[in-house]
């Protein structure tokens, strides 16, 4: 498959007054075109930070090093203005709470139409060289702002047709009427569909979805995940799904990356991961999914809890909870190694 984005040696640190916390530590990752890659991990494992670093939305107190290579450029070294040409257009993102991402005082139709208009402006710019665009960026932004949709202004006809088309595509019934609503009048599932419509209307090469269905009901979650999987082919995009739920990932992902305490524990094609989980943490996570009833099955729950990122254990970060840990694990940090074709694991049990 064709490579879309390659992350190498990405390290992200958050700096506060008295300490520095490494949220993502030397992560190597590739995303292929038209692939749904799921990043799985428990809270605080760095999966959201990974997503934010790709789209350039890390908070100001963070330091990122390494390389995120996209179309021959390192996204980490781009200036804010250059990044703006990527963010939202080449790489889009949706979040857990759709209602906090939508503007509460704009009608849904205005918000989608403005996204469509912005994309059109970007397409116009495409013919020009990047320097030309950058030189006039400030002026252009002022023009841009005056031209995009404002509340109360009638949406131009062609934009309206496209807005309806996108609402149709995310399977919202009665799009003409939904366009007139404010975000608070939408249910959680509808709001997430609107977010997906806005994100995909930019025709991004990569959509980052950070826990997109965690706040939704089970039946709605199934619909939204199915929708994302269907649209992926239709719009020709890749999806980076960030989730805590291994069961959800098994249902939709092509490849799964398991993260633990800021590092990648295992990276494998989805069927390989489930037929032959290698890392003890992955095995533990699989055993933690409730199956059967209390009478016929018992949990082999992973003992203990995730480590405090300020006081990480020495050696392998999973060693205090690992049933297979030996002395070497307590002193040396394992590297991600290729154990099989399309299957990488960071564990000394598989070191040759």
């Amino acid at each position: 498959m064709e490579k879309l984005l390659a992350i190498s040696d990405l390290t992200v640190q958050y700096v506060t007054n008295n300490e520095t916390i490494t949220a993502v530590d030397s992560v190597n990752l590739e995303i292929d075109r038209n692939q749904l890659l799921a990043v799985i991990g428990e809270s605080g494992c760095g999966k959201s930070t990974l997503g934010l670093s790709i789209i350039g939305l890390l908070p100001p107190n963070s330091k990122a090093s390494g390389e995120i290579e996209y179309k021959g450029k390192n996204l980490l070294t781009l200036k804010q203005k250059q990044m703006r040409n990527y963010r939202g257009t080449e790489v889009a993102m949706i979040f857990q709470e759709p209602l906090t991402s939508l503007n509460p005082v704009y009608r849904v139709g205005d918000q989608i139409a403005s996204a469509i208009q912005l994309r059109r402006l970007r397409d116009d710019r495409r013919d020009k060289t990047e320097d030309e665009v950058m030189q006039k960026a400030y002026k252009r932004d002022a023009v841009t702002l005056s031209r995009i949709q404002k509340p109360g202004r009638k949406i131009p006809r062609e934009d309206k047709i496209e807005t309806v088309k996108w609402l149709d595509l995310v399977r919202i019934a009665d799009p003409e009427q939904v366009m007139e609503r404010y975000p608070f009048e939408l249910s959680g599932g509808m709001a997430q569909r609107v977010m997906i419509a806005i994100a995909l209307s930019q025709e991004p090469a990569l959509l980052i979805a950070d826990e997109p269905t965690t706040a939704l009901d089970v039946t709605t979650q199934a619909q939204v995940l199915k929708l994302m999987r269907d649209l992926m082919k239709q719009v020709n995009t890749s999806i980076l799904l960030i989730s805590h739920d291994l069961a959800v990932a098994s249902q939709v992902a092509d490849r799964i990356v398991v993260m633990y305490a800021g590092e990648i524990a295992e990276d494998a094609e989805v069927h390989d991961l489930f037929s032959e989980p290698m890392h003890p943490y992955t095995k533990g996570l699989l055993a933690c999914i409730p199956h059967g009833t209390k009478d016929d099955s018992r949990f082999d729950a992973i003992p203990g809890s995730i480590p405090d990122m300020r006081r990480l254990p020495k050696g392998c970060r999973f060693n205090p909870r690992c049933p297979y840990a030996f002395d070497h694990c307590r002193s040396t940090i394992p590297k991600l190694i290729r154990a099989k074709e399309n299957h990488q694991v960071s564990c000394f049990l598989y070191a040759k």
């Binding site: 009901d217 999987r229 291994l246 249902q251 699989l286 055993a287």
Partner: protein, 338 residues
């Protein structure tokens, strides 16, 4: 009355919340209600677990609050331990010694400025006439039962992890040695590995203390794991009720079928989620659709479903479903359960 076999029983329990009519005091607008719980009859035997499964807004938490008398029921009856408790003459202290609740978010159910040991002690002091020494013993006994150390009882909630806080909440609930513990989404705020630990703990405690649980959850796999009986709620109504294995493996109400098919199973070779056929979302409980409340989303709906809300029909011993066409769903489910 089968009060010997049931610890908790409700009969046609209803809770309707009136909607505020707006600012105009002379408004002629008709008084409307949110029919949060609309006729629930459940029973829980001692030492058993009833799982109440449903999506947000289906009324499952309101049902729990009504049973705990935190809000008075609109109509219906609640019996606990052989006595009717909703007649206004119940001694709350005595009731809460026997009936306790664990909430979803341990963060907000513990006082942030109180040591967790004191949080538990305070409740015991309130409910039981005991000396300080006995209280301290009870508290440390409960903490030990949930796997926390003496030293951790001296901490503030913010010094504990989410799982530890939920352990404290469970310790608090079991301290007065109740007969029934109502668990409202006890693991949905927790990480996967912690959820497994808490579920294992709940099973252990149930065996050791002969507790009954009423488990409220949206997670079919969790309900299957913990429950002996399952009640499926939709829009304030009970749509299916029966032994766990029957309801999960041979669901008969179209909504239960959809719910189980929508629950992700950890198996990339069986992608049930991508085959989901259910459309639409849970309707508002203010203006539920006429007839069967599931009819706008139901693949089997016919005219009668738009007019009559079906009663619960017995389809197998102690397995009931509220559907006009249960015979149509007899063969639709192969094993899709998580």
């Amino acid at each position: 009355m089968q009060s010997d076999q049931t610890l908790l029983r409700t009969v046609n329990l209803k809770k309707h919340f009136p909607i505020r009519k707006g600012l105009n005091p002379f408004s002629r607008a008709e008084q409307r209600y949110v029919r949060a719980v609309d006729g629930m009859s459940i029973s829980i035997p001692p030492g058993k677990t009833l799982g109440v499964v449903g999506e947000s807004g289906c009324g499952k938490t309101t049902l729990a609050k009504t049973i705990l008398l935190l809000t008075p029921p609109t109509s219906g009856e609640i019996y606990f331990d052989g006595r009717r408790i909703d007649n206004g003459q119940t001694n709350r202290r005595e009731l809460y010694r026997n009936m306790q609740m664990v909430f979803q978010d341990p963060e907000s159910s513990l006082d942030p400025r109180m040591k967790v040991g004191d949080s538990i002690g305070e409740m015991v002091r309130e409910l039981m006439a005991l000396g300080e020494g006995e209280i301290r013993n009870l508290v440390s006994e409960s903490l030990r039962a949930v796997g926390l150390s003496e030293e951790q009882s001296e901490r503030l909630p913010k010094q504990l992890s989410g799982g530890q806080k939920q352990r404290v909440a469970i310790a608090r609930a079991i301290t007065p040695r109740p007969k029934l513990v109502i668990l409202d989404e006890p693991t949905s705020a927790l990480d996967a590995s912690v959820q497994a630990q808490i579920l294992a703990l709940l099973v252990d405690l149930q065996k050791k203390l002969n507790l009954s649980y009423m488990l409220i959850t949206h997670n079919v796999a969790v309900a299957k794991y913990l429950s002996d009986m399952i009640a499926v709620m939709y829009c304030g109504n009970m749509v299916e009720y029966g032994p766990t294995v029957a309801v999960i493996d041979k669901p008969r109400h179209p909504y239960t079928i959809a719910l189980i098919k929508s629950a992700p199973i950890p198996d990339p070779w069986r992608r049930n989620l991508l085959q989901t056929e259910i459309k639409g979302e849970v309707p508002s409980a203010i203006n539920p659709p006429p007839g069967c409340r599931f009819n706008p989303r139901c693949p089997y709906a016919e005219n009668i479903c738009l007019q009559e809300n079906p009663p619960l029909n017995e389809i197998a011993p102690s397995h009931q479903a509220a559907c006009h066409f249960v015979e149509k769903t007899a063969n639709v489910t192969e094993s899709t359960s998580p």
